[in-house]
């Protein structure tokens, strides 16, 4: 996806027409004709409104509108109103219906103005028409009517709603109309004409409006007011601080910001995460400084052999752990960059630590380290291999880090389930294991069959032959 985006950018930057890839190759003229016919055919379905045609549309340069204006009018020919009964019933949409008596205006004043063609009327267009202008000047619409006009894209004015009661009525009607566009428009007006304290107080009991304001402030990046709003609602949580945090790019500032966040009223659980995040970033800053120097100095072998691909700053904890297992595995537990220290400090689970260390050491092909990870001694001093992860997964991780067959087979052999063991062994060509498993199963047929799969004259073939020819061996 990223790639195709980049491609498109190249393409668009060049802005040359010949490279443009529209799929359509048809003759344009015939297409237009076809389109006209189609549009014409719908036109018949639309009742003509002659009054409408009287209003000649004029473009901004003063020229009359060209050839296809009619088709556009057809598309938008939805604004003609009739007094007929609604064909579909109204359903209850959860919000309380507001009583009209509050408004003090009658419904009859609604729609007394002429309805214009075109669903959405902008101020500019209106001003060109005396008709609309008149309407606008003489308007005495109620909050409800105003909201309806706003929904229909007709001219309106909010300035005359000055009492708090009117403003709130306006808001409540907007909310009950379920039109987010209008709700936000009213909120912008309220934000401009009401004190913050009053606005916030009123929004507390108006959840839908509140969410629209939060979204609007987020979109306009009005961080200051957004934080104030959320603080006044006691909603300090990840939503607010998080966004602010992400906009800080400098790591030291980021660290300081995080420190200031620690005192915020997060849930206890989240506050622990934020604390960890702070500690981690602090740690990363130290490691990054030291390692960058070591890398530049050119004296530390591992940085020469495996140059760092990116800075460790702002990486997740597990990535940091991997990094430390890769570059700082042998360090004593006391140092900041020691993998064991990271494990201790952040209480990383055994399994998580194991998976990460395994992948890092396998990547370096440090097979003895890998081996040591599994080795545990019991009280008698015997060693045995133990793993918090199923050996099937271990094999998978090793194989993805291109471990050689000799290494793989040690771990395939530890898979408990015989069937699974055989299938893994076959997949990774660990012949010995397959042969031994068949031997233990006393299955001569399978062993015979497997003989065909190993290389001719190889040690494996000889081993199979020895087993098959051994007269003392008992088969199933």
């Amino acid at each position: 996806m990223m790639k195709s985006k980049a491609d498109e950018e190249d393409y668009w930057n060049s802005s040359k027409f010949k490279a443009f890839t529209f799929d359509d190759e048809d003759d344009e003229f015939s297409r237009l004709k076809e389109s006209k016919q189609a549009v014409n055919s719908i036109r018949r379905l639309v009742e003509e409104d002659d009054d409408e045609d009287d209003v000649e549309k004029v473009s901004w340069s003063g020229e009359p509108v060209g050839s296809i204006s009619w088709s556009v009018r057809e598309t938008a020919a939805s604004n003609q109103r009739t007094d007929r009964e609604p064909t579909f019933p109204k359903i209850n949409t959860d919000t309380p219906t507001l009583s009209k008596s509050n408004s003090g205006y009658s419904l009859s004043s609604l729609f007394k103005g002429k309805t214009k063609g075109g669903n959405f009327q902008s101020f500019n267009d209106c001003e060109s028409e005396l008709h609309c202008m008149n309407e606008w000047m003489n308007d005495d619409w109620s909050p409800e009517e105003t909201i309806q006009r706003m929904q229909q894209g007709k001219a309106f004015s909010l300035e005359k709603f000055r009492s708090l009661q009117d403003k709130l009525l306006l808001l409540d009607f907007a909310v009950s109309a379920h039109d987010g566009n209008v709700i936000t428009a009213v909120l912008i007006y309220l934000k401009r004409t009401l004190g913050k304290e009053v606005l916030f107080r009123e929004l507390e009991s108006r959840q839908t409006a509140l969410r629209h304001l939060i979204q609007y402030l987020t979109e306009t990046r009005d961080q200051r007011l957004l934080l104030e709003l959320l603080r006044s609602l006691c909603r300090t949580g990840p939503c607010t601080t998080g966004r602010e945090h992400l906009s800080i790019t400098d790591e030291n500032k980021r660290r300081d910001f995080l420190k200031s966040c620690l005192s915020l009223p997060f849930s206890p659980e989240d506050s622990a995460h934020v604390q960890d995040h702070f500690t981690l970033l602090e740690r990363q800053i130290i490691i990054e400084a030291t390692d960058r120097q070591a890398e530049r100095g050119g004296k530390v072998e591992i940085f020469q052999k495996f140059p760092r691909r990116a800075s460790i700053l702002n990486m997740p904890l597990v990535t940091t752990l991997y990094y430390c297992c890769f570059y700082h595995y042998t360090e004593p537990e006391g140092t900041y960059s020691s993998s064991l220290n990271i494990r201790q400090t952040f209480k990383i689970s055994e399994k998580q630590y194991f998976v990460t260390a395994l992948a890092a050491r396998a990547k370096l092909k440090a097979w003895s380290d890998v081996d040591a990870l599994f080795t545990s001694r019991n009280w008698l001093g015997f060693t045995r291999k133990k793993s918090p992860l199923s050996f099937q997964r271990v094999v998978d991780i090793l194989q993805k880090n291109s471990a050689p067959t000799q290494v793989l087979q040690d771990y395939v052999a530890l898979v408990d389930d015989a069937e699974l063991r055989i299938s893994l062994a076959q997949k990774h060509k660990c012949h010995d294991i397959v042969i031994n498993t068949y031997r233990d199963l006393k299955d001569r047929q399978l062993l015979l069959g497997y003989r065909g799969k190993v290389e001719r004259g190889s040690a494996e073939e000889r081993k199979i032959d020895e087993l098959l020819n051994n007269p003392r061996r008992r088969w199933k």
Binding site: S4, V46, T75, R84, I91, H212, I214, P238, R243, M315
Partner: protein, 628 residues
């Protein structure tokens, strides 16, 4: 396994129970022509040469309805993509074709203000599509640009992606509406419905479920009431509206039907996919995926396990057709070349593309242990071996395997189990943050808010609290409170729904994917998509009667209404079997496949209208917050 199968493998041809009298679909190319003509009209509103700036996510939709010569004919000189940086255009007229977004309008203000500062005079025109918002005009006013810029609306609501798929191309609908609770797109959805109603209606029956569906219905109804009634023969009789948050399980499952799988892996954008060198073994190609592609059309709804067999059979047939050349005389050869060869070549090209895509899918899926992943998903759906599933997810997280995959499995676990046990929730969340970064605290807050990933509440605290508070206040405020609580108290009730609607067939039963017996085939027979099951049930009952328990589990908000023109003429029978399903918040290709199957079984034709085509990755990506 399909090797054993004789030629007619696919159910379009063998579906025993399918009805043959399915009605014809209306012609939606009309929508494209209307949109194009309106755009041309708007461009003419700014006469003379002009440069056109197009918002990035409008380019593909624009590609589908117009071409560059259309634009050039109307004096568009150069085309640019909106990139939020200073512009290089030297034209004295600039036209901006954008979505109504504050960020973009701010950028345009910056451009205009920069011109003012350098004393450069230009004309500016902003075309908002599909509509403009007052908030955008407020930005123009604040920035001192209002009046210097003319604005217009391009009512390009609906883009037909195929014969039976129409998209609003508004992926942000999902986040804005369901996460932010911003209802700016409700009227847009109503207007889109209104457009369809005026061109292909009148509808006689509308069913729906979900809060947004109700609001969209109301908005549409009001717009119909404002407008003119027409008497014409309806082409679409019934409509079903459904909110995405009614069913989150379906879009979170791995898709295994060909079209869905292609979308999951290669991402289909606006009906077009880009196949890279791994598919073509040459350079990348962009391919339109729709019913025009004869090969694709036959495999798009197939379970992936059937696709290989079909393709290889097809390849053999093609070989035979080519082989006919042998032993032809010159005259026969001439006819062959002029009549058949072109078609064969075309088929050959398509066939090799889809074979390449299938191979690439196989490779990718084997690498990531797809079998095991599917097994986990099926166990979650069935509610079986949950501990094993949790440890599988945990290992996924520990190994830092795809961040989105891990999140998807976590959400699936939470929804199917009605929330995670507090101990599991904390541990998995902590591990997730360790693996993928603490920034995801925001993601978790979002997911909790939507009810996608939640902690189980001890006992019934919330419901009790809700009813207590409800008694204290009057009805008006109770509505608002329920609203506020709904996100917190939102329970998925998946297990109960699954039992009631029989969504998960008993395991252990053989399911022949070549002869699907129900819609579960789209998930290998493991799960019937909840969204489609609801549609099936409501259509069968002609309403919600008998589904009271189900709607209660889905938090209500269901409706079924009949229009006054509901039952007048008999000739409408055909239209009654054409059903428009509108998914508010997105729809997956798997759901579309399931509906196509249902349509064939019951003699319906479904038209899917979606605010956008979605899948698990798109859905979850839209809820991340670390990209701010």
């Amino acid at each position: 396994m399909s090797e054993r199968c004789p030629v007619p493998l696919l159910w379009p041809r063998m579906a025993h129970s399918a009805r043959r009298d399915s009605p014809e679909l209306p012609d939606f190319s009309l929508l494209k022509r209307l949109a194009r003509d309106q755009l041309v009209y708007l461009l003419e509103q700014l006469p003379g040469k002009k440069d056109l700036f197009i918002e990035a996510d409008l380019m593909s939709p624009l590609d589908r309805i117009a071409n560059v010569s259309t634009l050039k004919e109307h004096e568009v000189d150069k085309l640019y993509k909106v990139e939020y940086k200073p512009i290089t255009s030297t034209s004295d007229q600039l036209c901006f074709l954008i979505r109504p977004r504050i960020k973009t309008v701010k950028w345009i203000c910056d451009v205009a203000n920069a011109d003012k500062a350098t004393g450069k005079f230009r004309r500016y025109k902003i075309i908002f599509t599909p509509q403009k918002f007052y908030a955008c005009e407020a930005v123009l006013e604040e920035q001192g640009i209002f009046g210097d810029v003319t604005t217009d609306e391009w009512a390009f609501y609906l883009l037909p992606l195929d014969d039976d798929i129409i998209s609003l191309e508004l992926p942000e609908f999902f986040r804005d509406n369901f996460l932010a609770g911003d209802q700016r797109w409700v009227r847009t959805a109503g207007s889109a419905l209104h457009l369809l109603h005026s061109l292909y209606g009148p509808f006689s029956k509308v069913y729906g479920i979900g809060r947004c569906s109700k609001m969209a219905y109301e908005s549409w109804r009001e717009q119909v009431a404002e407008g003119e009634q027409r008497t014409r023969q309806a082409e679409i009789g019934r409509v079903f509206l459904i909110d995405r948050d009614v069913d989150f399980v379906t879009p979170l499952c791995s898709q295994v039907v060909y079209e869905g799988l292609v979308d999951d892996i290669f991402r289909i954008k606006c009906g077009c996919v880009e196949f890279g060198p791994d598919v073509t073994s040459d350079k990348s190609v962009k391919v339109m995926l729709n019913s025009q592609d004869k090969v694709f059309n036959e495999i798009r709804n197939e379970h992936f396990s059937n696709v290989f067999g079909f393709l290889s059979q097809k390849a053999r047939n093609l070989q035979t057709a080519y082989d006919k050349r042998r032993g032809m005389d010159i005259k026969q050869m001439k006819t062959f070349v002029s009549e058949e060869l072109k078609g064969l070549k075309q088929e050959h090209r398509l066939l090799s593309l889809h074979i390449g895509a299938s191979e690439s899918i196989m490779k990718k899926k084997t690498k990531q242990d797809f079998q095991e992943l599917l097994k986990t998903e099926h166990s979650l759906l069935e509610g079986f071996e949950i501990r094993e599933c949790i440890s599988f997810i945990e290992e996924h997280i520990n190994r830092q395997v795809s961040m989105i995959q891990s999140l998807r499995l976590l959400c699936l676990l939470s929804i199917t189990e009605n929330g995670l046990m507090p101990k599991d929730y904390r541990s998995l969340k902590a591990q997730y943050l360790q693996s993928y970064g603490v920034d995801h605290l925001l993601t978790f807050a979002n997911l909790r808010h939507l009810g996608l990933l939640v902690e189980q509440q001890p006992g019934e605290t919330l419901t009790v609290m809700e009813s207590k508070v409800g008694k204290l206040v009057n009805d008006k405020t109770a509505g608002k409170l329920t609203d506020a609580f709904s996100s917190l108290a939102r329970k998925s009730n998946f297990r109960a729904l699954s039992r009631r609607l029989n969504l998960v067939p008993k395991s252990g039963e053989e399911y022949d994917l070549r002869v699907p017996r129900d819609m579960a085939y789209i998930f290998s027979g493991a799960y019937v998509p909840l969204s489609c099951k609801l549609i099936e049930q409501v259509l069968e009952r002609d309403g919600w009667t008998g589904l009271e328990e189900v709607t209660k589990l889905l938090n209500g908000n269901e409706f079924a209404v009949t229009g006054s023109n509901g039952a007048d003429s008999k000739a409408k029978n055909d239209a009654q079997r054409i059903i428009l399903v509108m998914f508010l918040g997105g729809c997956t290709f798997s759901e579309i496949s399931a509906l196509r199957f249902l349509g064939r079984e019951k003699g319906y034709k479904f038209i899917v209208v979606a605010t956008a085509i979605t899948n698990s990755s798109r859905l979850l990506e839209s809820l991340l917050d670390n990209h701010v």
